[in-house]
Symmetry: D2
Subunit: 275 residues, 4 copies
């Protein structure tokens, strides 16, 4: 979550309590006026609505217990998981929360660190419709748009598809830029040409700029887009739907990970093509 | 070439002579004021600068001879090949033209039928720099931008890379839309989400609209984007550069061709995912 | 397990108790002299060593509890899981068995129905070395060879790699046979040529024969080889090792599954190439 | 061609004249009793039947002219091209030879250097059936088996399919061995297991042995198997037949070529997986 979001929420009159395994990561939020919770359970006990955002399916389950979120869930408590995970995981989370009387909404977000700081994320929500509406002012603080997609699991699926498209396209961009280089063409000119055409997009421009500048500071971690590709492929697997582009992209990202690019931006997949 | 281009050229004061294997395809140009040449050789004999645009490497060579373009090439004659072919082919064409005293420019175009009609193509040129400058008013009639890329072959290479990126991305889009469908998600909502994010582009929107409407009227023939993927892979092959995304995309397009989608728009690659 | 194995075990003087969710599947074993257990727990209670073989990771966990295998595990009881699952699953099973005082061996088998009936399986074992030695006469009844691979998880990994190689090669064979057909070559002649060369193997010959005869009776279920490819890819994923051949094969098998080939032999991947 | 073949031919009573761009490569043949031709044309003029074997389509065309084979072709002269090329190339060669009254047979060989030395190649022939029969004693000297496949082009197609299967399987083997290594399994044990199973073949054993010994001395050049994969993919392309396994393999071989493995044995594709 970006600090701009916390600031927005507080301006709206909300009381915000924050927690992170690495406490220092909360400093900026506290400067903006948030309180620090000592445990996930304390955050849940203190707040009407708890928003969680962790890295992967395992972390999403781990934060619930044994001394975690579940301790604070009582009838009426609301839990909004904004992590990008698979539909099975989020369905399992929902069942546990609801079985204790809680209300559950999944709300993964599309966007990057910069958009998060600016409160310009796109939010995909599914699950408890009433809770979605209760969150509307919060979501406005966070994002430029939100979508309600129906039953729990739909937001997870949709987010994986969005990120699959993004991850595959990123690999394609890297493939194009490297092919330009090894055939003696100017990468800058390739970008200029693409920017003049119908493919022009903020994503294409920013990622190419990153690569041209050799700047792989993480905006969207490479290890997370690879995780999303893996989960999207598994989603296709579960319905016997071939995803050859995602499968090819996933292999390229794995090579990038083997080259120590996990904690760089997804655009560092470029390095899988030059080594 | 779109009729708008011919109209523009004539307004600029140029005399335009046209030829096509299928004479009827010239009717619209003639209505705009162009003259009809009886053979390629006659066009070259009549005009200072001849612009050619054919479908593939074989056609680009065939149009030169034996009773073709070469018959009309004399010292000073200018020949501009706007086809998308490989660098070897265009280098061969250039050598033949130049060996007879002619001047040669390759100038493949990026864009589709609509952009062609509107004179909004992006033109990639390489070869004879003086000829490029002589063509500047013509290129302005055709395109919104042109790039001069140096020695003959560079424009072919760059165009193949641009089309490789486009073709791979198109397959990725189709993969995302079909995965949405088979997992019970709304394809329209997926498009809405993508249009809100940083991936948003004219290409993404138009191709998704085509698919949602089941409208595969050719804007960029599927068989030609597959040809370009094949040539781009061969380009990578010639310098030992892996292109796994393009290779995966190429296989999907081949399946689409086997499903009789060759003469539909490239977005009909969607059908390879649903059959 | 083939009936020949049960017969062998009884001849050796072992008492054999069998259980299957579908009781009729035990009929042949009972004719050979085996007793029928009413539940997995009863089998474990009755026997010194229990051999289990189920279809996938979920089934391997499910058979343990709540009214399953674990109820019968006491100090000294031996449990040998012969399923092909992933290393994480088998490690989890081992921990649960061992935490109750049991002894655990994983022992997945390489081979097919025919080899199983003939007691000619290759057995990969890992875990409790003493138990492996105690099983030696049983393994002799089942297989022509067994390997002890060290700590729990190693047999799972090795088996997935073996099946990955087999599954990818099967897809390659199908690709070759179909390419022969669509280019007007005799598939029988292709097989004759391959059988004369250094690639000649029982697997190649049998699978090609199956395809030429259109006989896809399951010897190794297509759905299981696809599961193994998926798990092998995940194994590579866990160590950032690209497996592009397995990834490509996996997509072909998914298409075959979408064409209702799950319960046919793995050679039915052929049908993914002709539809 | 191996020296054993020349020796066999001479023992049979044939007179053998040899030529190679690098004359020293003929030394061994001359020791066996062959005569040295000064040019391809001289070989053709001297001999009733000329056998040619070059590296790729371009070389196969180049050796014909201008001061090459064609100068010696007269009515009745026989020309047998044993190179592995594509069907278009061999059809073109046949037309040129036949148009001058010559007889043409394509006869690419499956096998490696060792088999060639031992006269144990598998020969695929197509074209002039009478010539095939005239060559029978020569083919017996070269190979353990020959197949006649009908009209010119069929042998080229069949050979590409055989080599496609071989090349894809080689990549799969390398993928399995490297996955074993990075997951802590013994590569030797993996080979032992595979050798016990139905996949066991001379090819599998020899290539794994090469890799385990780090011995990549060329038996079948990596650059040639990659060429054959490329041509087989193009063959599939020409009939709109997807070949995703070959496409994935081709990308791995390209990486191996970028790692300077072109002149090593095809088993050096292993190195593409470890760098």
């Amino acid at each position: 979550m970006g600090s701009g979001i916390v600031s927005n929420l507080i301006k709206m009159g909300h009381t915000v309590t924050v927690w992170n395994r690495t406490a220092e990561k909360c400093d900026l939020f506290i400067q903006e006026g948030a309180r620090l919770g000592r445990t996930p359970a304390e955050v849940v006990s203190t707040c009407d609505i708890t928003f969680a955002c962790v890295s992967d399916p395992k972390a999403a389950k781990d934060v619930l217990g044994p001394s975690g979120v579940l301790q604070g869930i009582r009838p009426g408590k609301c839990y909004v998981d904004m992590s990008t995970v698979d539909a099975d995981t989020v369905t399992e989370l929902a069942q546990v929360i609801v079985s204790r009387g809680g209300r559950f909404l999944e709300a993964p977000v599309s966007g990057n660190q910069q958009l998060s700081n600016d409160g310009m994320l796109v939010i995909l929500a599914a699950g408890d419709r009433g809770l979605y509406e209760d969150c509307s002012s919060c979501f406005q603080a966070m994002g430029k748009t939100s979508f309600f997609l129906g039953e729990v699991g739909n937001a997870a699926k949709m987010m994986l598809i969005v990120n699959m498209v993004q991850g595959s396209f990123m690999a394609t961009i890297a493939e194009g830029l490297t092919l330009a280089q090894v055939t003696g063409q100017s990468q800058q000119t390739l970008l200029d040409i693409l920017n003049q055409g119908q493919l022009a997009s903020i994503f294409l421009d920013q990622k190419c700029q990153n690569i041209l500048q050799g700047n792989f500071k993480p905006d969207f971690y490479l290890k997370y887009i690879q995780k999303d590709l893996r989960l999207a492929i598994a989603l296709g697997d579960s319905v016997n739907h071939p995803t050859p582009m995602a499968a090819a992209a996933n292999e390229v990202y794995k090579r990038a990970k083997a080259l120590d690019q996990s904690d760089n931006d997804m655009s560092a997949v470029y390095r899988a093509y030059i080594h």
